[in-house]
Symmetry: C3
Subunit: 249 residues, 3 copies
Amino acid sequence: MQGPIALFTDFGAGSIYVGQMHMAAANALSDVRVIDLYHDPAVFDVPCSAVLLAALLDQTPEGTVLVGVIDPGVGSERAGLAIMLEGRWLVGPDNGLFSAALARSGGVPDYYRIQTGKEPRSQTFHGRDIFVPIAAGLVAGRQGGLIWLKDPSTTVTAGIAADLSPDLARVVHIDRYGNIITGLRGEHFSQSRSFTVGLHRLAYAEYFAAVREGTCFWTVNSMGLVEFAVNQGSAAEFLGLTVGDPFRP
Amino acid sequence: MQGPIALFTDFGAGSIYVGQMHMAAANALSDVRVIDLYHDPAVFDVPCSAVLLAALLDQTPEGTVLVGVIDPGVGSERAGLAIMLEGRWLVGPDNGLFSAALARSGGVPDYYRIQTGKEPRSQTFHGRDIFVPIAAGLVAGRQGGLIWLKDPSTTVTAGIAADLSPDLARVVHIDRYGNIITGLRGEHFSQSRSFTVGLHRLAYAEYFAAVREGTCFWTVNSMGLVEFAVNQGSAAEFLGLTVGDPFRP
Amino acid sequence: MQGPIALFTDFGAGSIYVGQMHMAAANALSDVRVIDLYHDPAVFDVPCSAVLLAALLDQTPEGTVLVGVIDPGVGSERAGLAIMLEGRWLVGPDNGLFSAALARSGGVPDYYRIQTGKEPRSQTFHGRDIFVPIAAGLVAGRQGGLIWLKDPSTTVTAGIAADLSPDLARVVHIDRYGNIITGLRGEHFSQSRSFTVGLHRLAYAEYFAAVREGTCFWTVNSMGLVEFAVNQGSAAEFLGLTVGDPFRP
């Protein structure tokens, strides 16, 4: 058996829905390991969440089965996909949540459509009832319920991935310290450049202590993304940005 | 070994008490699986929490040992019970927290009283020091410390369960999206009926997209409970209800 | 294999950093058990966090590898330590976070310095990239990357531990019920004494129900620490104290 199953949802850490996802995994495969990757991205914001998911996916071991659910209206997803990408499975709705991971990857993905029965829609909690059982099956080496797609270009996910700029000039996350995590990959930006946000011009610094207290700077963070930060302060307050806000790249 | 141990408390997800419960389980049985089912029901509200617990219990695999602690004053519980109900154990205080699960079940429960020593009361954290070790023992197949009750009708739990209306016309949970989860079981209500809350009359709809944006409706949710919801909105705001509020069934 | 790995950080329960710590552990050792001990101590407050960590460490099984990270500026730690103390490993920065555990222990610790390469500082998330892999190695019985310190007195940790008053007359935690947990060990205070906080004089009581509703008292809590509490109320509101506040011991 491989694994783990990694959960990435907008259900909220500790919410009643997350507990049910864990229980569904235990139901399907009693000894599968389940890791809460993240449950509090911007609610219903698929593009920003997709960038976070892509950055976190880079850190997973081979064999990981990532279940991703950003769910504007529980139970309303049209279709489910399972995508094999560089030794990891992505399982979730066909709404673009996996598009950034696909656009940023050099690998060749395999797409599978998830077949489902005709449950009453309101009573179906797709993450719990469909995606987690499929994921548990994949951990156990079973691909039941999956149909390989010869032409994945018809999926929403592949369509978005094809059009996607590989870097997203938006705030994708603000951490508890007020650091601003963007959708730009650090490797694509020269340390000699600066970012302009409102009236502020941010120069590059390698780490916090390299700038004066209270100075706002940009750096490449531990997820490989461009981050705006203030030494001993909150960049979110300093710059007046919130999650989802665009800025000039 | 079976399991898992499932934790249902009002300690708050991520609180210092939850960490200690997990550590106590690792102490008692190093490889037992522990799942955080839910830690944020309405604090000290036993009847509403009991309904949530019952709905979640339905989703657990056989062999689950559910430790439930709603604790108006840590360390003050009078007695502890372990109840075997349809292949699952319920372990916790004798205060009615398990009564809804018992009232809604068709199974015949076996009640056991938990024997405890004479610890100093203030220093005893019952969930950590008594219920989790008992639960770990049950996972390992040991019933040490349990005395079978020939006549469980003397317990608070059985007394409440006997009197309990099987459906509770109160708000038992509001999720992060503002959906209102009630204590009514969906299977008991005809889709042709409506609910009246304040000045609002809510008709049934099978799912969100079946009604106009902004419309408040009732449905049967993924836990089998009657839920009030608004398409693209918050039913809690729309109806002005909070957790614990009663309404006309 | 032993373990578990226990995580104690100020990253915030459910934060994106905690998910990455779990994933790093799965990466390093696929079947290692990881327990979230606590992630929400007062941010950046090393002395108060150190007391909580010491109290929680007492509850861990032998073989536990505790990774502790309180991190005023991610990536800025100067050095890392691994300390073997009474059958448990402590792994984290050399900043005093482990000093209370050392000062309160009767055991003789062994100190090891963690050797690290020359990573770019901003992109290094020490907890994820250094401490968790070291911890996973220790669980597996490997001490690679550790250099035993013949004279640990040169470390910040040992220096603070040597000077540390074994009891800290500050509020180290306030729980969701408003109970105030202090850094004083209960065994060192006679039940006949009282504490004076502002205009209030708090007498000892063994448990909540032993005093009148609304009465503020002190007790010894389930972590062995002096706690200020109000029967059916919030001691934090009653006394007007917040985390970190000092009081007269």
